[in-house]
């Protein structure tokens, strides 16, 4: 089974639209994982039917028992996150500040602090309207576990792909260059970088590619809104060539992506548009690159 991850550095370049189109074109040949858990949007175009749901527990928060607390303040002294504040004669924990490090219960002389495990989100296994299995998730508000949730989503998606002997796993990755991105990219077979010829798009592409390069994973590039700025588009092509990034396709700056999203469809389903045909070419290129 081959794992393909789609990332972009910059948001709004068409990453999810591309991932959904590849899912549509691959259908039963691909399991799909929505790893943009911060802003998971894949379900909006795949209209999935939910098959399984599971709570995802990760991390802890401290809880002070107001009855047992003597107000000695030792917990406040050791907390490096300013998460403990006075509450009358005793202390309480600010849940949004607490990092769940477990230091305070270890030093509380009267054992009035307990650690409670936290529900960080939910993970779903669904079937898209095209027939693919889709593993997706929602992240609990304020959770700092997005990287771990990405790892869990990928683990389940990989298991589903193996169980059903599906040849491809398509991963919609996260924006940025931080922890969730690393968790999306690590261990994949091919990275698709979606970019646009804007100064921001170019800058973010170069930063995120630096992360990809360190993993040593082969990469391809899709330039969306390619005719928005001819000069920067040329610079991006030159960058791709210099770095050995395969150019997989270019899409014009038009309304097809927006119209598809607002109709609840993938771009590849937008019949009689140039973009739909190009999506097909992108998928064929990826398949041929990954074929043994």
């Amino acid at each position: 089974m081959k794992q393909i991850v789609i990332i972009s550095g910059k948001g709004g370049t068409g990453k999810t639209s591309l991932a959904a189109s590849l899912a549509y074109l691959a259908r039963h040949e691909a399991v799909v994982a929505d790893c943009d858990v911060d802003a998971a949007d894949m379900h909006l175009v795949t209209a999935p039917q939910r098959l399984e749901k599971e709570d995802f527990f990760s991390g802890y928060e401290a809880v002070i028992d107001a009855e047992g607390c003597t107000g000695c303040g030792m917990c406040v002294e050791v907390c490096h996150f300013d998460a403990i504040v006075p509450d009358g004669d005793v202390y309480r924990v600010l849940p949004l500040e607490c990092e769940g490090c477990g230091y305070c219960p270890r030093i509380c002389p009267v054992e009035a602090i307990k650690m409670r495990s936290l529900k960080a989100g939910e993970i779903y296994v669904s079937r898209t309207r095209w027939g693919n299995l889709l593993v997706h998730a929602t992240l609990g508000i304020g959770s700092d576990m997005s990287g771990k949730l990405v790892t869990e989503v990928r683990k389940r998606a990989r298991r589903k792909a193996e169980e059903t002997r599906t040849p491809y796993l398509i991963i919609d990755g996260s924006p940025g260059i931080g922890c969730p991105v690393t968790a999306s990219v690590t261990g994949t077979d091919f990275v698709v970088l979606v970019t646009e010829p804007t100064r921001s798009g170019q800058h973010d592409l170069e930063r995120v590619y630096e992360v990809v390069r360190r993993f040593g994973i082969p990469a391809g590039c899709v330039i969306n809104k390619a005719d928005l700025h001819a000069g920067i588009a040329a610079e991006i092509r030159a960058f791709a060539e210099k770095e050995g990034i395969r150019l997989l396709g270019e899409f014009p700056y038009d309304d097809t992506f927006v119209e598809a999203v607002n109709a609840g469809m993938s771009v590849a389903e937008m019949e009689n548009t140039p973009a739909a045909g190009k999506m097909k070419e992108v998928w064929e290129k990826i398949r041929s690159i990954l074929s043994p």
């Binding site: 949004l96 959770s143 922890c179 690393t182 804007t198 921001s200």
Partner: protein
Amino acid sequence: MRVAIASGKGGTGKTTVSVNLAAWWRAAGREVLLSDLDVEEPNSGLFLGGEQMAAQVVYRKIPRWDPHTCERSGNCAAVCMYNAIAFTGKEVIVFPELCHGCYACSDLCPSHSLPMVDDRIGEIRTYAVTLAGGRRLTRVEGRLDIGREMATPLIAETIRYTATLEREGGITLLDAPPGTSCPMMEAAKRADLVLLVAEPTRFGLHDLTLAVETLRVLEKPFAVIVNKDRQGVTLIDDYCRKEGIAIAGKIPHLTGAARLYAGGSLLWDKVPEVAEALAQIAAYLDEKEKEGEGR
């Protein structure tokens, strides 16, 4: 007043609003400080540039093992809730990317063999920007080192530094990271008010609803800015009306503006429709500021 400009979805125009509102307002005579907290992908400099005035390296604290004094109790690995420390029986191994800097392993080590030491995560740079018309504004930028994964401590440090530059009666604009998790919340928490930039697509609407839920948990006042607004597409307006959320301004979808943006140009002094929207947003914020003073 400190205003965070955020969005659930990336690419909706957060940076466009931040840099152009900063420039427009400064040109209109207001004291403006801009702080770029999108430390994973800081882009405000692509539009504003400026002369670098200062730079400081940002460190966080992580434990470093001292094999000579270590008594091999294994206590450090036992207390770490993040699996950032492994104890093999002979050796202690620290995994910096998993460490949250809680000090538990270090403070509770019986032989004091895990002192906390500096670990570089990024940089804070300060720039003096000269605008068309000659006025100057200060821009601060947090920039995460490539290969580092933890953005939130750098964001917190960038805000702390920004606060030292704030002046009485001035306005601070924070260009927040996208999304709804920790990095975005860190920026929103330290603001008096949050502007959520949304685009009128189904993705845009969905991610806006997530951001709204997050800000409600934080109990932060907020308003929405519709960017790339299209005639006849009302899904953001409909949602805001239903939820009783104010729309502070609307920036129309214009191909000319998109091309200028692509090339790294500011829009406030070149596209009248954008300038008009910025005036609207500034007026909204002025009013909120007055309300705040009245309380």
